[in-house]
Amino acid sequence: MHNLSKKKESSNKWKLGQPIYLKAENYTLRSLEPGMVPDSAQSWFENEEVMKYISITLNVRLDVFKRYIRTFDNRDSWILGIWDTENRRLIGFYRVFITRYNNRAVTSVLIGETEYWGRGVVIETRIKLLDFIFFQAGIHKVTAKVMARNFSAVFNYKKLGFSKEGVRHQHIVDDKGGWMDVVLFGLLQDDWKKLRQQNQEKEVD
């Protein structure tokens, strides 16, 4: 079991390539390493409901996933595990890919432990992640691609202030051979600053 409590949250001093550690109210995000992934995570990749809208192949083997984790460098590609801070259980992960030239990041999330669905994990943790991406890493824009019928994911992006930048119609074939639309979302650093400021003012009121 990894000690999540003694680690210090990544601060202004964070440098490219260093592991990332972020603490939300109930959950902890930390640069994922192969040894941190329990065997039980295999069930995530075998669960059709979990994998339905994810761009990772269904039934991927855990050893393949662990090799995949090693390809992330904490510079232009990050993979951050999401732990329930209280019971120290790994419940999912974020991926962040950065395009340096355009100072832009694309993010995605997978919550593998389905009992955590509907508990606000993504909203709570993505706020911390966006703060880090914009204010520590200095990224100008964050984007995401979401399958339109992934209603919960669409809701979460809207809730956090992402704007719909377009829809790619009939862009992906689903497991039954039908077409799926993809929604493109974007969020600028300036807009996130304003939203965070508005929320802080509301909290003061």
Partner: protein, 78 residues
């Protein structure tokens, strides 16, 4: 539009598992605490079931206020 707004409140109330009297015409995803990601999923699925439609991508994104749901209901029922 008035009827559509009342319909919107009823459908939203069922998705959020609250009384429709507790929903105002200017409420949205931010003002109603129980409007979370699962409630949003229930909302879209109940619209599809009730009207035998598939909600298109633009509306899946945009149906995040009572007004927007009311307007959408007006469009699909007229």
């Amino acid at each position: 539009m008035e009827n559509s707004l009342e319909l919107a409140k009823d459908i939203l109330a069922r998705a959020l598992d609250i009384e429709s009297e507790g929903i105002a015409a200017d409420d949205d995803m931010n003002s109603l605490e129980k409007w979370d990601s699962l409630a949003h999923m229930r909302l879209i699925l109940s619209l599809e079931e009730a009207y035998n439609i598939e909600v298109d991508a633009d509306h899946i994104v945009d149906l995040v206020s009572v007004q927007a749901i009311g307007q959408y209901l007006g469009e699909i029922t007229n």
